[in-house]
């Protein structure tokens, strides 16, 4: 077992150095989109649909245009923009391509859908203009649930998607599935069925979406300053929608107040604003307000899994048969498509367990709700919850300890190629499970639980063991048959005459500390002080293409790309130095201290400044075959099936019999993300992720009324946990260096969010074990807990009689 990682002597990687981004963010000098003011800037606001599903019968903007301060107002027909279309290379029976218009045309598909754009001299007048707009609708029946989507006479959200099915894929169906179920039923084994559901959530970056767009005549270019995790994808989609050459769009990203996936898809509002800029020839700003963010932003998570699992009498899983339905809302997101959730779930559902036989059907359905984006963890919080509930249910039915049943099934030999044709690289699945259990046991929680039970209290212990593919490469996305295949990342490094470097990356920081961690990697690779490394991101002009930040890809893929670029620059420095030192290139090496040293005579050395001086200011001294520049570019793509981080979460909860509230008494996370670049940052990612997972397990949900009206339009109705709901969390690191990435690191961004819902739910069920009730739906509402506890009281009462 690898001990707690405390950093390495003399290296930046592994040390919790002060974050480079902190000083400006702590002093109010960060620059977020809404902080940008341009001369002559106008302000946009959107007229949004008040019905969930309907035909637009009339739009009258005359009163809007009469509002003092309103400059212009546009409908879809005024702007004539291309739709956003996300595609899969799959046959029609598996995938129905649909389009998302920039502004709704003819039909609206969710409450809050943008119908018209109002531009005014100030935000207050823009709002007044929106108020004055008159839009008439002929309402249609709203699709608000799986049942209503699949109903015989259901209206369709998109004509192109009959039956409201966007994606319908059946996979694997290995030859022995049915036989395994029969054997389990006939012999001493067990077949368990669990139906798990998760509510619709908002990723909820504290900074809402926003854009400031302006036209620059000199650059012949639209400058789009906005908060997005994927600036290049926005550029591509925007240029297509505006029908202009891509070089005339530049997307830059200032500081970003979180994203968590919500900002990793291309939105429509920013494109509408860009179109207005072209018409008005003035800068325009749009800042999404919280109501828009909650009701009309990209939502996430609403999924249902029916999981049948066969176990033999020893508690070993023999087959898995799963049916998944993901409610994707009104539109398929670009570039991932509505396949993002069901396709990931079906590919990875067996999770950390050795499952010999597997069959899955996964569907994405359209509904009259705000569209969804991949939110931190994507479908993993859901499929992990499904399989972890299955493990607990089977343990109960077979009379096994919940940790023991996992121990018997978890993958222990690596690399492991699963029934799902994915090869898992080495991890610490079993070790993390053992450590998490030991922590809970050693602290006496089992005794506390049992004593509490004797006192009539309800304390429960729950676990979740999972792995997480981090840094999907193009191979993994291509397997999914995406028409747009994300994967690689490019980095360019440039050294100046003082020996400092600027590194670009196509990844996009929004809280993950890239300015610090990627700089640590580069500083080590070149032997520079951290202060001599500056990372730049978020500018489509600085890098040919990039895939941004999502799917925990930044340190695995982006980190490998910066490392490779730095390595190449190092080689160039060595070549020039060898020439200057009049020795052969294989007789020099980087000295780890800002210079190149001669191996057989360490007295002879050329500092980076000396080399740079020659490269730029006295280029006649360069070797003949070296060009006068100190730059290098490299790209990286994770090979094969990518790399898997893993963790076990252990949670102790208490259910309050008076209020039904769940209190978390203890939360332990044991995780393995390979080589830890910055321990404090990894801890932060774990804790922040777990907080979001707890939010999904216990608090946050956007429900819809039968007419498609969303329930939560403000923080009054959308319950975001605060410091009193989120417990302190211990994080223990295991370290299995990854052989597929340059630095041995695996991604750490999403794990917390993935493990928490299942762990919390399992703990709640343990706390309710005497009631006979098992809960499989999140969020767990206090009323549900109360009802379960009441049932127990009635049982107790009824027993003596």
């Amino acid at each position: 077992m690898t001990p707690r990682f405390d950093g390495r002597n003399g290296r930046w990687v592994g040390a919790s150095v002060p974050r480079r981004e902190d000083p400006r963010l702590l002093t109010g000098r960060g620059r977020f989109v809404d902080d940008i003011q341009l001369p002559g800037m106008l302000h946009a606001a959107f007229v949004r649909s008040t019905v969930a599903h309907g035909t637009i019968t009339g739009i009258d903007l005359s009163a809007t245009l009469a509002v003092d301060g309103v400059v212009a107002a546009y409908t879809a027909s005024d702007l004539d923009l291309g739709d956003i279309v996300a595609l899969l290379d799959r046959p029609p029976e598996e995938f129905s391509p649909t389009a998302m218009p920039i502004l709704a045309r003819e039909k609206v598909r969710f409450t809050g859908e943008p119908v018209a754009l109002v531009v005014a001299r100030d935000p207050y007048s823009a709002e007044d203009g929106v108020e004055a707009a008159v839009v008439d609708y002929e309402p249609l029946r709203a699709i608000v649930s799986e049942e209503s989507a699949f109903a015989e006479d259901a209206p369709v959200v998109h004509d192109e998607a009959p039956g409201n099915v966007l994606v319908d894929v059946s996979m694997f169906d290995t030859p022995g599935v049915d036989a395994a179920f029969e054997a389990a039923r006939a012999g001493g084994g067990r077949v368990v069925e669990v139906v798990t559901k998760s509510g619709r959530q908002n990723a909820l970056p504290l900074e809402t979406r926003g854009v400031v767009a302006s036209w620059d005549d000199r650059d012949d270019q639209l400058l789009v300053q906005m908060c997005t995790q994927v600036p290049h994808q926005v550029r591509t989609a925007m240029a297509r929608s505006l029908r202009v050459p891509e070089r005339t769009v530049r997307v830059t990203v200032p500081d970003m107040g979180g994203g968590f996936g919500q900002k990793c898809v291309v939105g429509r509002e920013e494109i509408a604003v860009a179109a207005a800029v072209r018409r008005l020839n003035r800068p325009v700003k749009w800042i999404e307000d919280r109501r828009e963010a909650l009701t009309a932003g990209f939502l996430a998570r609403e999924q249902r899994y029916r999981t049948l699992a066969a176990f033999d009498e020893d508690g070993r899983i023999t087959a898995l048969d799963v049916d998944v339905v993901c409610d994707m809302g009104a539109y398929s997101c670009y570039p991932f498509t509505a396949g993002i959730e069901p396709l990931m779930a079906s590919a990875e559902m067996p999770s950390v367990y050795q499952v010999p036989e597997y069959r899955v059907r996964a569907r994405a359905i359209a509904s009259n709700k705000a569209p969804t984006a991949p939110y931190r963890g994507v479908s993993r919080p859901q499929y992990v919850m499904a399989i972890e509930r299955v493990m607990e249910r089977a343990a109960r039915e077979l009379g096994l300890d919940p940790v023991e049943i996992r121990r018997r099934n978890v993958i222990t030999q690596f690399p492991y190629t699963g029934v799902n044709a994915i090869t898992y690289d080495p991890g610490t699945y079993r070790e993390s499970l053992e450590l998490a259990e030991a922590a809970i046991r050693d602290e006496g929680w089992y005794e506390i639980r049992d004593r509490a039970a004797a006192d009539g209290r309800h304390i429960g212990i729950g676990y979740c063991c999972f792995s997480e593919r981090t840094g999907y490469g193009s191979g993994a996305f291509a397997k999914r048959k995406m028409a747009v295949v994300p994967g690689f990342d490019i980095s360019e490094i440039r050294m100046d005459t003082t020996g400092s470097v600027v590194v670009t990356s196509g990844t996009m920081n929004h809280g993950q500390s890239h300015e610090t961690t990627l700089a640590q990697i580069v500083a080590d690779r070149l032997g520079l002080h951290l202060d001599q490394v500056k990372l730049r991101q978020g500018d489509t002009e600085r890098i040919a293409y990039g895939w941004g930040t999502f799917a925990s890809r930044s340190v695995t893929i982006g980190g490998s790309a910066v490392s490779l670029a730095a390595g190449k620059l190092g080689e160039l420095l060595c070549r020039i130095a060898a020439h200057l030192l009049e020795t052969s290139p294989d007789n020099v090496r980087l000295d780890g201290d800002g210079g190149v040293v001669q191996i057989d005579d360490p007295e002879r050395r050329a500092s980076f400044e000396e080399i740079a001086d020659v490269a730029y200011l006295r280029s006649h001294l360069l070797p003949k075959d070296v060009e006068p520049t100190l730059t290098a570019t490299a790209s990286f793509d994770v090979p094969g099936d990518g790399t898997f981080s893993n963790a076990t979460h252990a949670v102790v909860v208490e259910a309050d019999p008076g209020t039904g509230q769940i209190r978390i008494l203890r939360y332990a996370c044991v995780e393995d993300c390979g080589v830890v670049i910055h321990p404090q940052v990894v801890d932060g990612q774990c804790r922040g992720g777990i907080a979001q997972g707890i939010a999904g397990a216990l608090f946050e949900e956007i429900t819809y009324a039968g007419n498609g009206e969303p329930s939560a339009a403000s923080f009054i109705d959308y319950l975001v946990p605060t410091a009193t709901e989120i417990p302190d969390i211990t994080v223990t690191h295991l370290e299995t260096p990854c052989s597929l990435t340059e630095n041995g690191a695996k991604g750490a961004g999403e794990g917390g969010t993935i493990g928490a819902p299942a762990a919390v739910l399992n703990a709640i069920n343990d706390a309710l074990r005497r009631t006979g009730v098992e809960l499989d739906t999140t969020p767990v509402h206090p009323q549900t807990v109360l009802a379960a506890l009441d049932a127990e009281i009635h049982q107790e009462v009824s027993v003596p009689s």
Partner: protein, 166 residues
């Protein structure tokens, strides 16, 4: 619309004039009229606390106050923390404990903590947690924010005791 008032706001020890409609919030005036963009907008309905500033020493939601109501008050924003380019002890503590990730909520938490610690310098961890629960952070899970404020409180208490005994 034509109904505008010329007001004088005392912010971070300087007085500023602004010509504002009565409906304009203190938050918008700070950010857009005075250019003090360190105070952030998270919800505009008084729940998230990203807009927290000190008004006469009290943490206040700047989105819930009209600028015209703040005329006679002393207002402090995040821009007032620290001196001569040096971070304050509280700001340093946030950095040391990794109490911020994206940093969007941070100015609000700093001002909340500044106001709270001024009133309750000897607050214990649970009291600090309770106070911190007034604001939302989506990134950190709060633990390190509580750590940062607790460490500052402890350090300030030690310093005060030392001063008292000296």
């Amino acid at each position: 619309m034509s109904d505008r008032h010329l007001i004088v706001l005392n912010v971070n020890g300087e007085s500023h004039e602004a010509l504002v409609e009565p409906r304009k919030t203190l938050l918008d005036v700070l950010r857009h009229d005075l250019g003090l963009t360190g105070t952030h907008v998270g919800c505009e309905h008084g729940v998230c606390g990203a807009c927290t500033v000190l008004v006469d020493g009290e943490p206040v939601r700047a989105c819930l106050m009209f600028a015209v109501q703040a005329e006679t008050a002393e207002i402090r924003t995040v821009e007032s923390l620290g001196q001569d380019g040096e971070l304050s002890d509280l700001q340093r503590s946030f950095s040391e404990h990794h109490g911020l990730q994206c940093g969007f909520c941070t100015p609000g938490f700093l001002m909340l903590a500044e106001g709270f610690l001024a009133q309750r310098p000897d607050a214990c961890r649970e009291e600090i947690r309770e106070a911190v629960s007034a604001n939302l952070c989506r990134c950190t899970g709060y633990q390190t924010i509580v750590d940062a404020i607790e460490a500052t409180a402890t350090r300030r208490c030690h310093a005060a005791k030392k001063e008292a005994t000296a």
